[in-house]
Symmetry: C2
Subunit: 431 residues, 2 copies
């Protein structure tokens, strides 16, 4: 089993390198404002983005990631009836930050502006001590469009789960199957809620985005992210698919990143509260932040939320969310999340267990309750999503960064090595 895992990660690296070398178009050749996707009534056939082609037929995701609910069913995360909260505006440091120099992963000189372009950024928000110092919608992305967040969704689910742990509604050492008996015959049998939160429950499931044979493809087909081939014999919804995933090694020993853990967490949260995840996020976070726009979660064919991947929100509303985290749960005149919940997440998890993941590009990190904890001197932590989505909180510097991207390659292995030194340089500039 260890062997197969090592092989899977070697394969990731190999495939990623191949993709980079062979098919990754340079950012300046696939600018959103020049692609003219979905323009015209109807658009030309080669500019038509659909639920079938948005993800696998690059560059379609450059348009799709800020139009997801035009392709797929969705559930609103209501902002509520109150007025939007004020996002304070500070000195506009965009020009200075874009010109900021740092040394890239290959020892090359780069600027922060080049970094954003190299990660196919659609929109970027930077706040320092609660004030917006950088707000950019690159290449014409509309500011009011919610953007696909992929695995940043997990961090929302994890934050709510941690709050429910604090309130005693959820028990860390309870079995997953206490909440979802349907999983008794599955790989999650015997695993605890905490193991689910830290992705140390062990299941026989591979998540290699660039491998068509990987289990993540079955997951994506069950959720409706990917079209199914004509002879598809797999499950066509999440509640049917999840119980089919078998056991692997010992629970609690290794962190291996698998989206289906968070789909199971979504199931647990719904069973524990009787509510959809969209309603939990709305009631507990979105309506209290004073968000400007409703957010939304994408759904499978049976109306089940993609709890591990389906969140869409606007840049500015994510800025409010990140500020709330930086302020230990307090924002818009109220304590939204308990400060003890933020503290618990920031503690992180077992860094030795993390090493098993093969994520050498995140040295020193751990993964706790669906958050990436850097354990660096600034106490920085992150929510990350494929294709370049990121919420970064640096409490020591009073810095939050939200970046929304439509990178052609899914895995963070491609974006993170350049993101790390870029964020370090930004923190040093602002500290």
């Amino acid at each position: 089993m260890n062997l197969s895992r090592s092989f899977a990660f070697a394969l990731t690296v190999l495939l990623t390198q191949q993709i980079q070398a062979q098919t990754m178009p340079a950012p300046e050749t696939v600018r959103l404002d020049e692609l003219k996707l979905m323009e015209g009534f109807p658009p030309p056939a080669d500019k038509q983005v659909t639920a079938q082609n948005f993800l696998m037929q690059f560059p379609n995701l450059r348009w799709a990631f800020h139009h997801m609910r035009e392709l797929l069913p969705s559930r609103n995360i209501r902002r509520g009836a109150s007025a939007p909260s004020v996002l304070s505006v500070g000195e506009d440091l965009r020009a200075r930050i874009d010109a900021l120099n740092f040394v890239g992963p290959e020892g090359n000189d780069l600027t922060f502006g080049q970094y954003l372009e190299a990660t196919y950024a659609d929109a970027t928000l930077i706040m320092k001590d609660g004030k917006v110092i950088y707000e950019a919608y690159h290449e014409g992305m509309p500011a009011e469009n919610p953007h696909m967040l992929w695995s940043v969704t997990k961090s929302f689910a994890g934050l709510i789960a941690t709050q429910l742990l604090e309130e005693g509604i959820l028990k860390a050492d309870a079995l997953i199957t206490d909440y979802v008996p349907e999983l008794k015959g599955s790989g999650w049998s015997g695993a605890t809620i905490q193991q689910l939160l830290n992705m140390t429950a062990d299941i026989d499931y591979s998540e290699v985005y660039a491998d068509q044979e990987s289990d993540v493809v079955k997951y994506a087909m069950s959720a409706g992210m990917l079209p199914t081939p004509e002879d598809f014999a797999g499950e066509r919804d999440l509640y049917s698919y999840l119980p089919t995933i078998p056991a692997d090694g010992q629970h609690g020993e290794r962190f291996i990143y698998r989206t289906v853990h968070t789909e199971v967490l979504g199931w647990v949260l719904r069973r524990a509260t009787g509510k959809h995840l969209a309603d939990l996020i709305s009631e507990r976070i979105w309506s209290k932040l004073g968000a400007e726009q409703d957010a939304y979660l994408l759904l499978d064919s049976k109306g089940t939320e993609w709890a591990g991947a389906g969140l869409n929100a606007t840049l500015r509303d994510l800025g409010r969310f990140a500020e709330m985290l930086r302020l230990n749960g307090r924002f818009n005149g109220q304590q939204i999340i308990d400060s003890s919940v933020i503290a618990s997440i920031r503690e992180g998890a077992d860094r030795e267990a993390f090493k098993a993941s093969g994520r050498d590009y995140q040295p020193g990190y751990s993964y706790r309750n669906k958050w990436w904890i850097s354990h660096n001197a600034d106490g920085a932590y992150e929510a990350l999503g494929v294709h370049g989505q990121m919420i970064h909180v640096n409490p020591a510097v009073g810095l939050v960064v939200v970046r929304l991207s439509s990178h052609p390659v899914a895995t963070s292995a491609v974006t993170f090595p350049i993101t790390r030194p870029a964020l370090a340089a930004l923190a040093d500039m602002l500290r």
Copy 2:
């Protein structure tokens, strides 16, 4: 051709009667709050509503009509950033109105409350002289959920088209094919924009909701309203389907109600303005009304709006819209639609041409620019949608009524005969 039309309408009546007699469950047996549709994670199989079963498998539409975007792709109609406008509250007349007596279509004594139940009302708003006197969410429909409006959508498209005529952006006597050359070989060849607006363009197309062989089924399948059978050979999107509809009689002679006319109008509006209908409604109406919630339009598989059927909005926001109409286009401190546009619609169209439609349950009516004009002494006019959707404006009495329903039978032939005397009694009570 006339024969086939007469036959089609005779068939409608026959099928409607059959449906009423055989399969229409009594309202009290299908109460929304007792059906428990889509409750549970997952819901039991017989309570599962999907994009495939929501419309044809009653009572699923009782839940679906206020959750449409959870089933299908949708495009937001933004409310904008300003605060919601105030909906003034008057004396609560709900109890008095529910007890209001009138004589039903079969000479039977009824109350207004019984009328609402008999039309499977989900939510009802009544305003008198600008004040809410009746606001009800029946059987647990959530107030904040946008509700499916079906052909009320047409009246929004028609209102915008009339405003564009006023502004000279659209020309009433221009040919449809001047805007959409793709329709040159179709039934719309030679027809004008005004004929399209009044549904007097003549095409070989039948719209009989209860007939599985009717052309409206092909339309519904192309739009994604109905699932397609495995051997389906028809078009799977609106822009492919519309040009296939052939010519029939002489344009301009008869009003025959056909949804595809409004799908073509949607196409014309997009070509004339370069904008989606959702954006036109947002910019010209929704953002100016001070709506509480974003509305939305449902989309086909290629992202094309159902311009004839796909609008969803909340009860209170539709109240704002209806008030704006009653006030000749002025609401929320601004002139939203030109008063001349409202006046033009209220003029109505040729009442002789209307008689060809076989809609004996709307005596004296005409249909102008996608609005139903009663030509009664009060100058009342309406937007109507299948399954019981209605916006009714009575300028003489200062009355507006919005009713959202989930009636098991599509055609207004079932709801309108009871709606007419009910609204007349309400107007008499309030005048």
